[in-house]
């Protein structure tokens, strides 16, 4: 096994892990405000990724305009989910969970019908350029490490988004309101916070992040399909649980760790073990640290 190959796998892993991190951060935001696992988060991921294709389909063949369409559609999906599958449940944990699952099935099957279930090719923002990080391209058989501009963009964006989310939650009035609602809706009302509005904002922000994750995933794998959301939300949940619910920075680290583990197991020829490794790792964490690697002890007893 070549050293250069290993490093490349790690870099690819970090880039895909970054997507998991963004998804987990979005889930975390809703879990934080509503104490609810939003199972329709995957729909916003899927709709975000298809938004880009939609704009190409109607003839606007510009990747960045497509991104804007995807993000707006994901944002609207978030508002729709909140209005239809969350607000009418009046805070009932189980009902909300089932309703959001139902919502996810409706949206994802709708897109399956439209696309006839076929995977769709995904456009690229720019042509990939590979930069040599280590070694010499002219030496055949020597150690060579390369990274593409697209991978760099993915890593940079995900770090930016997690940092942005932490700043939003800890520095802005809206972010503070979200944290207060998460800890006590009654106290939130008593200090003048409009809880209903705050929850809507939480869903909108979360779904926007999901849309961005969907687009990044499409770019990374060069294609998307109608059930991409279901596949990715599972990874997001693993990251959220392993990181510890409520911890944004933890999501970044664990997301990238999961990406690297996956990419190494594929790279080492053990692709069948990919999910086995990821999920057994999650179970181990749950057994020994039920509150997660970065979470706060005691938080785990709060719900259900």
């Amino acid at each position: 096994m070549q050293f250069g190959f290993l490093v490349e796998q790690v870099l690819i892993g970090i880039a895909t892990g970054a997507i998991y991190a963004i998804i987990a951060v979005g889930l975390n935001l809703i879990f934080g405000t509503m104490n609810v696992l939003n199972m329709a988060h995957g729909s916003a991921i899927m709709i975000g990724s298809f938004g880009v294709l939609l704009s190409y389909y109607v003839g606007v063949e510009n990747f960045w305009i497509g991104c804007a369409v995807g993000i707006v559609l994901a944002f609207l999906t978030g508002l729709l989910v909140e209005r239809v599958a969350v607000r009418p449940m009046k805070g009932n944990w189980w009902n909300t969970k089932i309703a959001t699952i139902g919502m996810a099935f409706v949206l994802e099957n709708l897109v399956t019908v439209i696309t006839e279930g076929r995977p769709q090719l995904y456009p690229r923002p720019f042509n990939p350029v590979y930069y040599v990080v280590y070694g010499d391209i002219k030496t055949p058989g020597g150690t060579l490490i390369e990274i593409s501009n697209i991978q760099l963009m993915l890593i940079a964006l995900s770090i930016l988004m997690v940092v942005g989310m932490v700043l939003f939650l800890y520095r802005t009035a809206t972010g503070k309101a979200i944290r207060v609602v998460a800890q006590s809706p009654d106290i939130a009302r008593c200090v003048g916070i409009d809880v209903k509005r705050t929850i809507v904002v939480g869903f909108a922000v979360s779904a926007t992040l999901a849309g961005i994750a969907g687009i990044l995933n499409g770019v990374t794998f060069g294609s998307t399909y109608s059930f991409i959301g279901f596949q990715l939300i599972l990874k997001g949940i693993v990251v959220l649980i392993v990181a510890g619910i409520g911890n944004m920075r933890g999501c970044l680290w664990v997301g990238m760790l999961l990406g690297v583990i996956e990419s190494l197991s594929v790279g080492l020829g053990e692709s069948t073990y990919r999910d086995f490794i990821a999920y057994s790792g999650m179970v181990l964490v749950l057994v020994f640290r039920p509150w997660g690697l970065f979470g706060e002890e005691g938080r785990v007893q709060r719900e259900v």
């Binding site: 207060v180 009654d186 106290i187 009302r189 200090v191």
Partner: protein, 246 residues
């Protein structure tokens, strides 16, 4: 005659949970400068009435009026977060503090969403830290790690952040050791004397509440049994009857 106008006036309030009536026909008022206690045995409906006034229970009917010194507001159909802007500080008993925020943040939260001027919020925080020195000592500590007495103090201080005219307190003494309880009630009385904040207090500890209250209402199975000046209520046979049943 503006002084005669009550700060808080509740008329014919009914509270229901589904088919169960928790309180019916409750009328009470808090006048200028008063601390009013709402007393009664367990299950009499005191907390239900207070939650309804706070707007935290939507299944309530009745007229609740609040006079802010210049204008009378109907607050029975108002959302709780809008009441905070009128100068009503609600201090519920179920959740006292925000456990995962530190003392300073807990205090800041009391003013941050009501005033756009952060320097004013900070000034107000400093004033309250002067008044509650134990909170200043613990300002960087997570609220969950405070003792029960300190948490109650923090809740009261958070309520004071909005410069309230009226404070509604639900069982402030819940879970407090006797010595802390005395401190807390002394603090409440001082707040009334110095800031002129009127208070409506729901309380289990009848003796302590009657020591600081000007007037008291006694509830029994969902309605007001009788009311009067605190001293008279304290001496009355009916108070004992309400608690022991007869």
């Amino acid at each position: 005659m503006t002084d005669a106008r009550p700060i808080l006036k509740v008329t014919d309030l009914d509270v229901r949970y589904g088919a169960v009536t928790a309180a019916s026909g409750v009328s009470l008022e808090v006048r200028k400068g008063e601390i009013v206690a709402l007393l009664g045995p367990n299950g009499a409906g005191k907390t239900s009435v207070l939650k309804a006034i706070m707007g935290l229970n939507k299944q309530a009917n009745g007229v609740v009026e609040y006079f802010d010194g210049t204008k009378t507001h109907r607050i029975d159909k108002m959302e709780t977060h809008e009441m905070a802007k009128l100068g009503i500080a609600n201090i519920p008993s179920s959740e006292i503090v925000l456990p995962r925020m530190n003392v300073e943040e807990n205090l800041e939260v009391g003013g941050r969403f009501l005033y756009s001027d952060m320097s004013f919020v900070r000034k107000r925080m400093d004033e309250l830290f002067m008044r509650f020195p134990i909170l200043r000592e613990r300002r960087k500590q997570a609220a969950a790690t405070l003792s029960g007495g300190e948490q109650r103090q923090l809740a009261v201080a958070r309520g004071l952040m909005c410069e309230p005219k009226l404070m509604l307190l639900d069982e402030p003494s819940l879970g407090l050791a006797p010595i802390l309880l005395r401190d807390l009630f002394a603090t409440l009385k001082r707040i009334r004397d110095e800031f002129g904040v009127e208070m409506l207090i729901v309380e289990q500890n009848v003796n302590k509440a009657l020591e600081i209250a000007d007037r008291a209402y006694v509830m029994r199975i969902g309605s007001i049994d009788f009311h009067g000046p605190a001293k008279e209520v304290a001496a009355s046979e009916r108070l004992r009857d309400a608690y022991l049943g007869s």
